[in-house]
């Protein structure tokens, strides 16, 4: 069976740094970017190792501020 792969996009300026998405990710690739401060003054959430993303949408489901968009890569 082909491995599910996904891609997530964060609208970082909408993020309020609540960290809920980091708890929902089953592959633990969502982290807070401590080196960046967004327009609201928070450290926004971001993704490390996008290759590991399975496109489950859990992060977007729990995000209270609709920061995240999720795409799933369909392999032939």
């Amino acid at each position: 069976m082909a491995k599910a792969r996904g891609k997530v996009t964060f609208k970082e300026d909408l993020c309020k740094g609540c960290e809920l998405c980091t708890t929902a990710c089953p592959v633990n690739i969502v982290v807070m970017n401590k080196e960046k401060i967004n327009i609201k003054g928070y450290h926004p959430a971001t993704v490390i190792e996008m290759d590991k993303c399975i496109g489950c949408g859990n992060c977007a489901t729990i995000c209270p501020d609709v920061v995240i968009e999720v795409e799933r890569i369909i392999e032939e």
């Binding site: 996904g6 891609k7 909408l14 309020k16 740094g17 609540c18 960290e19 809920l20 708890t23 929902a24 928070y42 496109g55 949408g57 859990n58 977007a60 489901t61 729990i62 995000c63 209270p64 501020d65 609709v66 995240i68 968009e69 999720v70 795409e71 799933r72 890569i73 369909i74």
Partner: protein
């Protein structure tokens, strides 16, 4: 590439004003997604409450109306009776619905008004700064209960879903939570069913959503979700209390 999650058309582009980690944002999104999926955005009319979600009319991409504190079901009753073809919902918090608006919600259910109520229960008054609400748990600290709610003095918290389930006109009553993705998906299903009950002309529907208030609980958003799961769910059990046969 296939989009599996994007911002619903049911929400406007305005960013939410809620505190970081407040689950109001999740619940707003679920209601908006359901309205979009049922293709009723064009004929939906929402009634916003007083409380943290008082600006809900800025966020939903449908017609909205603001009601006086607790009176959203009464305003929704009027709207639905004048426009019977519209889809009318109220979005209310626990200070609004379970305290000052108890009479309105009970009698809207009692009359079997064909409206849908989304009841957000976070066990505290959020907007006014963390006072004790009728839904505050025994022992839970609030600014008006600094040593925790005393059962002998303030009684036990009000279980709104159970109370409304005893009323004949309330055709759909369910309590859900939004503390993890699985429960958020269940919450969306319940909200969808509540709207389907209205569309089928069955009667009153209410979904009680257990929610967090990290700011007034004095917890981080992640701790708040854990607190909800460990403390609120044992007292406010999740589940369906009433469903009409047609939408089962």
């Amino acid at each position: 590439m296939a989009k599996v999650f994007e911002r619903t058309k049911g929400l406007t582009d305005k960013p939410f004003h809620y505190c970081p980690g407040c689950t109001h944002g999740i619940i707003h999104r679920l209601v908006a997604e359901v309205l979009e999926e049922l293709d009723v955005l064009g004929k939906a009319i929402g009634v916003a409450p007083v409380g943290c979600s008082v600006f809900a009319y800025d966020y939903f991409n449908c017609d909205m109306h603001e009601a006086a504190h607790g009176r959203a079901p009464a305003v929704a009753t009027g709207i639905k009776r004048v426009h019977p073809d519209s889809v009318v919902f109220t979005y209310q918090g626990d200070g609004d619905l379970a305290s000052i608006g108890t009479a309105e919600i009970i009698h809207a259910a009692h009359r079997g008004e064909k409206i849908t109520t989304i009841f957000v229960n976070n066990a505290i008054y959020g907007m006014t700064g963390g006072q004790m609400a009728p839904t505050t748990l025994v022992g839970q600290k609030a600014t008006t209960a600094p040593y925790g709610r005393d059962e002998k003095h303030a009684g036990r918290p009000l279980k709104v879903a159970e109370m409304l389930a005893t009323i004949h006109g309330a055709k759909f009553v369910e309590r859900v939570s939004v503390h993890n993705p699985a429960n958020i998906r269940k919450a969306k299903k319940a909200i969808k069913k509540a709207f389907e009950v209205q569309l089928a002309g069955e009667g009153f529907g209410i979904v009680e959503v257990l929610s967090t208030c990290p700011t007034n609980w004095g917890l981080t958003p992640v701790e708040a979700l854990k607190w909800l799961e460990e403390n609120m769910i044992p007292y406010y059990p999740l589940g369906n209390f009433r469903t009409p046969e047609e939408v089962k």
